[in-house]
Symmetry: C2
Subunit: 323 residues, 2 copies
């Protein structure tokens, strides 16, 4: 597949950090940055930009939950590169402070991605507007649309469409619940109600479909694609960047730096933290549930592989008397 | 997805046995059989039916490489079941002896699946005819069509189409090389040149696409689908049966017995043998190569995760001076 407009966004550090409270070593972050530079990835997201507090400290929650400008500049300066990727950071509605963000020309960031649920779309759009005013590229990543009531989602999409300050609108498969035909039908909805927006996609791999759903998005016209090195990410992880670069035929991409960083950094990391498909996440995705129950099951060493028990528990709750 | 015609074939023992020389315990085989019975799977393939010889012994190559009728009957009798699945066994061209096969009414088998490369299609069709004469359902599984010259493949398809004795023709993604759009284009070729045949699909998971490609086949009208419990199978394995049953909406299927056998049998087995996606198999699939080099790499503990080295080695050979 070759389409010149397609851009790849690496969110390895940001989504991977959800597993280990952003406790990546400098060496690791620099290596991921260098790999993205050398492979021709268009955008790299280096973490979240949340507010620090007495409770929510850098020591406990990790440097890349806060993305201080100086830290990010140090990463960028760690690797020389002819055309470096744009640098993105994620905003979570309700946990950020725009007043601490300088303007783009003095910032290491190029893009601010705002993540919000449908219910918070007004807050999300407000953040997008304020970050756009500072000169940044902006995205709205509506989380968990698979669990949203359609009329609410449609209203949110129409609001996003009416906001000139939003550059990209993301379809996000937060629960890893979508099959390819649902990707197409949700994209139809997004295109119908937000026809003026460029679309992005962020998948999760609960049912081994993050990569194939990303392909479906390409077929359906999406031009901004999220992926992570070796699929690292919360729970079942994300679309594997190396598989995606193999699939994309644009000669600007070179997959070898990605395999290099996997071989040197990710294989050792796999001995410390877990990510990727297993049946617990598969059940969670199939049932269109937030992955928190699945992550809890995986965290309990004794029961972590008890997929029958997990299935029975999840479906028993679903059959509960809430009619 | 619900379509009444769709049938699911479990090839857990047959494809899984390629990893461990068919050294499954009786308890394991019986448990897989029981799970298939109780989950409503239509067909179960219990192994290969090859010729034993002084070199090729049951002790070394495992009981389920030979599938003696008595062994198979014992499995069937191990679990009572209202509607039991049909029982299939695989024939490899050149390694079987039809004269030892009784007629279907005296056999535990219902279906003989013949696997062959395009070059051996005449031998494959001959076996299908001879097994059909004995009353069995028959399939031809053309291996590695992704590496066949199209005119040869077309000729093979036309021969299969002209053979009334072949009940099902399989598209086989032997190398785990197909993307969904290629699934569609190969199926178009199969339908054009073998329009009278019911189609089946057997995928491999090198690029995390076995399940999604199976879905693509369903969309494209294929009605016989191979899968294995927990995706067990050679190299990166196959389409996960549990994911597929979740996807299929036919109420005759019940996924719980599959999760039960995973929890009780497959989780312990994972500590002994490896299967499933990793980047070595991903590279092999992307490059449309036979998995033998990838399996060799995985078997070498020191280098098994060196995906950059493997990529460079594989692509260096491809760039070799063979113009």
């Amino acid at each position: 597949m070759f389409r010149e407009e397609i851009k790849v966004l690496d969110c390895t550090i940001r989504d991977g950090g959800l597993i280990n409270n952003y406790q990546f070593s400098d060496e690791f972050v620099n290596a991921v940055y260098a790999a993205c530079c050398d492979s021709g990835v268009d955008i790299i997201e280096v973490g979240k930009k949340l507010c620090e507090s007495d409770e929510y400290t850098r020591v406990k929650y990790g440097r890349w939950n806060f993305c201080d400008e100086d830290d990010v500049k140090r990463v960028i300066e760690s690797h020389e590169c002819e055309t470096r990727p744009l640098v993105a950071v994620m905003y979570d509605v309700g946990r950020v402070d725009v007043s601490t963000l300088g303007s783009r020309d003095q910032s290491p960031f190029d893009m601010i991605r705002t993540a919000c649920y449908v219910a918070d779309i007004d807050k999300g759009i407000d953040l997008a507007k304020r970050t756009k005013d500072l000169g940044f590229l902006t995205t709205i990543n509506i989380m968990a649309p698979s669990a949203a009531i359609e009329t609410d989602l449609v209203e949110a999409l129409e609001q996003v469409n009416a906001s000139d300050e939003v550059d990209y609108l993301y379809l996000v498969d937060s629960f890893g619940a979508f099959y390819s035909e649902q990707i197409t039908s949700y994209l139809d909805l997004y295109k119908k109600h937000a026809p003026d927006k460029e679309l992005g996609f962020h998948g999760h791999n609960n049912q081994q479909l993050a990569f194939s759903n990303t392909q479906q998005c390409i077929i359906d016209g999406v031009n901004l694609l999220d992926a992570t090195v070796n699929g690292i990410g919360r729970g079942a992880g994300n679309c594997n960047l190396e598989l995606l670069l193999n699939f994309l035929k644009n000669p600007k991409f070179d997959v070898r730096p990605i395999y290099k960083v996997i071989q040197e950094q990710f294989i050792p990391l796999r001995k410390e933290i877990e990510w990727g498909f297993n049946d617990i996440y598969g059940i969670s995705g199939h049932l269109n549930q937030h992955p928190r129950a699945a992550m809890k099951q995986r965290a309990n060493e004794k029961d972590q592989d008890n997929c029958l028990d997990f299935y029975v528990e999840c479906t028993r709750l679903e059959d509960g008397d809430v009619a």
